[in-house]
């Protein structure tokens, strides 16, 4: 680490453990400033990591996953499923006789599982009281900043199939 330190006539240990108490105030301040600079560096690394991740292109192929049969779920009922991978929980809600909506179940705040509150007709996260609209997954209230990623559904031969995830990372 010798390049990081200004050239000095005294060795590092003499600088860090000074004989004069007046100098000790400088040592503690310099060490604290060094710590702050390291914190700043680590945050810059964080931003660069996000940049690196954003330039990676995810493969554009989405799997087609059957979720439920068209008449299986009652109106106002709920089915949970996994899409696109086995560890991505999603929630399907039948909002009316003809309409089904599906969203990722991970709350965009801190990933607690959201549930459908029929009385209020909205998706609720119990952890920190975040509320999402059932129409488009946008945030109604609470700490979440982002809308819930939506799962695009297709009705084929009486089957509801998840075909794509919208609004999330990809």
């Amino acid at each position: 680490m010798s390049w990081f330190r200004k050239p000095s006539s005294t060795p590092l240990w003499r600088d860090e453990f000074p004989v004069f108490t007046a100098d000790e105030r400088y040592v503690s301040r310099r060490q604290f400033t060094k710590f702050l600079t390291l914190t700043s560096f680590s945050m810059m690394v964080g931003n660069l990591w996000i940049l690196a991740r954003s330039t990676l292109r995810r493969p554009a192929t989405w799997p087609r996953v059957p979720v439920a049969a068209a008449g299986e779920i009652p109106v106002g009922g709920v089915r949970t499923f996994n899409y696109p991978a086995a560890d991505d929980p999603c929630i399907l809600v039948r909002t009316s006789a003809e309409e089904y909506v599906a969203y990722s179940q991970k709350c965009t705040h801190l990933s607690c599982a959201v549930y459908y509150e029929k009385a209020q007709n909205r998706l609720e996260c119990p952890c920190h009281r975040g509320f999402f609209s059932i129409e488009d997954g946008s945030v109604l209230e609470g700490p979440p900043q982002r809308a819930l990623p939506r799962v695009a559904l297709e009705k084929t031969d009486g089957q509801l199939v998840a075909i794509r995830m919208e609004g999330g990372l990809v």
């Binding site: 105030r25 310099r30 996000i50």
Partner: protein, 78 residues
């Protein structure tokens, strides 16, 4: 002539530099969280300006640290 006078002169400048660094750090924290939220929402285009500004903030922090270091070796005995 005998007792060295207390080296208080440089301390004020160093304290000022530290406060400035802390302010820059708070901005950088906010920037990181905002960039992360934007990226997770799918808007990849925010990543590049976020990284550039974060790098600028870090460069400013580094410059202030080097200033403190220079002041430290100037004022101290040696």
């Amino acid at each position: 002539m005998n007792a060295k006078p207390p080296q208080n002169r440089g301390l004020t400048a160093i304290d000022g530099a530290m406060v400035l660094i802390i302010v820059l750090l708070m901005v950088q924290i906010w920037l990181l969280s905002a960039t992360l939220e934007t990226y997770l929402a799918g808007h990849r285009e925010a990543a590049l300006p976020g990284a550039i500004i974060s790098a600028i903030l870090f460069a400013a922090c580094l410059a202030l640290y080097r200033f403190v270091d220079r002041l430290d070796s100037q004022v101290r005995r040696g």
